[in-house]
């Protein structure tokens, strides 16, 4: 058996190269900004000479390429600079908000996967029956509702009209937020406060469902079409001849093979979903990277925008690389180098 390690190593290498290009691109786009970070970090009554000195101190008079190298070098040492607006280290700001966003995205992905697989099986099950047009129409409606419309709709329905669930922040007033790992759901369990865990979970249900439900229809449709493809294969026919029940064929034989393309799609979808957290966080006043980013954008806080933008890309690249590697492990057909 050929080893798949070199293939995985190559995939990681490609991701690293992409990361370098992405970071350079990010750096260049943000240099188009018509504001002057030097002038912004000084009091408004600073003289032109003072601004010029600050520019030189910040390295803004150097050529773009040199500026990028300096920035990249600092980033590699974990130094993302200081926020112009908050006057705090950016690394700390990103570090304290990233776990919240990852928690939200992970929960949402779980929901999207569960709904997507259930929906895909349903769509496949009703194919060719009278229910098919209804199921199809349903999946188009789902596809037309982006996550932020779901988010607002859930707030109106479950938050305002029914008053069932909270829709602002992460914890109810009166709870002191524990900080151990940064992941609230884990931290509340670590300090042994199940009541707090439930409260945090309640705050996450609406945003996570809004995100998850918005990303499920694509998974549904791909699962259905790969199931249709798999059913053309001989072994399904043979399973029928062996007298296996349709249910057993679907769940034990077909699904196992149809799930692979679905899994690879979920990797791509995770990138979109991770970006989707931004708006959901803003709508639900959820203290994650998305809110940090939007605040930074409104204040033209360059160091934060740069660091948060890069962090989003790193997470997406890591997930995509991991999914590709998993795909290689699970699908022996791809192991031919």
């Amino acid at each position: 058996m050929t080893s798949i390690l070199p293939l995985i190593a190559r995939r990681i290498l490609v991701s690293l190269v992409i990361l370098v290009i992405v970071s350079a691109l990010l750096f260049c786009i943000l240099r188009l900004l018509p504001v002057d970070p030097a002038a912004m970090s000084l009091p408004p009554n600073a003289t032109l000479a003072e601004i010029e000195a600050k520019r030189r101190e910040m390295g803004l008079d150097l050529p773009l390429f040199r500026q990028y190298l300096i920035w990249a070098g600092e980033v590699l040492r974990g130094d993302f600079g200081a926020s112009i607006h908050f006057r705090r280290g950016v690394a700390g700001l990103v570090g304290s908000t990233l776990p919240a966003t990852v928690e939200l995205a992970a929960l949402a992905m779980l929901i999207a996967g569960a709904l997507g697989i259930a929906g895909g099986l349903t769509l496949f099950h009703v194919r060719g029956t009278r229910k098919e047009p209804i199921a199809d129409a349903g999946s188009i409606v789902l596809l037309s509702l982006p996550e932020f419309l779901w988010g607002l709709f859930f707030i109106l329905l479950f938050g305002v009209a029914l008053g069932l669930l909270p829709f602002t922040g992460r914890l109810s007033a009166g709870f002191e937020r524990p900080i151990i790992t940064g992941f609230l759901l884990i931290d509340t369990l670590l300090i042994g406060r199940p009541d707090m865990f439930v409260d945090a979970m309640k705050h996450m249900i609406l945003p996570a469902f809004a995100l998850g439900i918005a990303f499920s229809p694509t998974i549904m449709r791909v699962l259905r079409s790969s199931l249709i493809d798999v059913y053309q294969e001989d072994y399904i026919h043979q399973a029928r001849l062996r007298g296996l029940s349709e249910r057993r064929i679907l769940l034990h034989h077909a699904l196992k093979n149809a799930i692979l393309p679905t899994l690879s799609l979920m990797g791509v979808q995770f990138g979109f979903l991770f970006g989707g957290t931004l708006l959901i966080e803003v709508i639900y006043s959820y203290p994650g990277m998305g809110n940090l980013m939007v605040d930074a954008v409104r204040n033209a806080d360059l160091p934060i925008i740069q660091a948060v933008g890069l962090t989003y890309c790193v997470v997406v690249l890591v997930i995509n690389t991991a999914v590709d590697a998993l795909y290689l492990v699970l699908n022996p057909k791809l192991r031919v180098a």
């Binding site: 990361l19 188009i140 037309s144 109106l156 708006l279 980013m293 939007v294 033209a300 933008g309 890309c313």
Partner: protein, 296 residues
Amino acid sequence: MSAWTSTSRGASKSAWPAWLRSPRVLAGLAVVSAIALIALAAPLLAPHDPNEQNLVATFLPPAWANGGEAAFPLGTDSLGRCTLSRLIYGARIAMTVAIVASLGAMLIGAVLAHIAGYFGGATDWLIGRTVDVWMSFPPVILSLILMVGLGTGLRNVILAIVLVDWTRFCRVLRAEVLVVTRRDYVAAARLVGFSHWRTITREILPATLPLLITLVSLEMGIAVIVEAILSFVGMSVEPTIPTWGQMIADARQFIYDSPWNLTFPILAIFVTVLGFNVLGDGLRRTLDVRLTESRA
């Protein structure tokens, strides 16, 4: 594909082309054209100036609800502005962005896809890797960063969407071009002495056109959403121009005072995007396009 090619070559003159007889296409077209007409006729249709404030009549409910006024059919917002008029004017930005941005993204994406798929080799590799790099930015994040770099305004919103979404066209179309390029008639065209340009435009493009049209329709829905997202966070057009995203952002702050104000723009975005998606789905079916979907 057969439906498109047979009708475009005038095989069936008497009947409507197949794609115009599909109920999905008709329904989608009806919704989308209705919204486009509303956008065009906004000054005639809107009962008020969308920015006219009426501070004695804030948070009015719709006319049919308790306390509503006939002068404001869908009520007023926190500054007493007419919700219906703002919705109608909001359609202008939504439709402008939908049409111009998706055509722009299509143009860049389609040209690069045809070049990559047709010529293959190093060109294909380079374009493919560029798409990879682009796709490692979550679209929302990239459009937001671009808006920071470019600055707000209608032109820049369109530019940002074009620069983010051309990859959707490029990725999907390239695969299709690759398949078509290997067909015999394309090889025959080259043997007969057609230039590359002529082969691509006369032989390959007609075969990829159905997919292209379907993608444009779906992209228009995506563009409406992206514009709403950008104006929701205040990074779209100037604040004096009413947009659906901006109406949502305003209404979110006063959700308990007036849930109505949040409901109407949500419905407007939903109906518009649904219209484009139903149209796209109908085109996909009648033009027989196989498509791996991805979304915002």
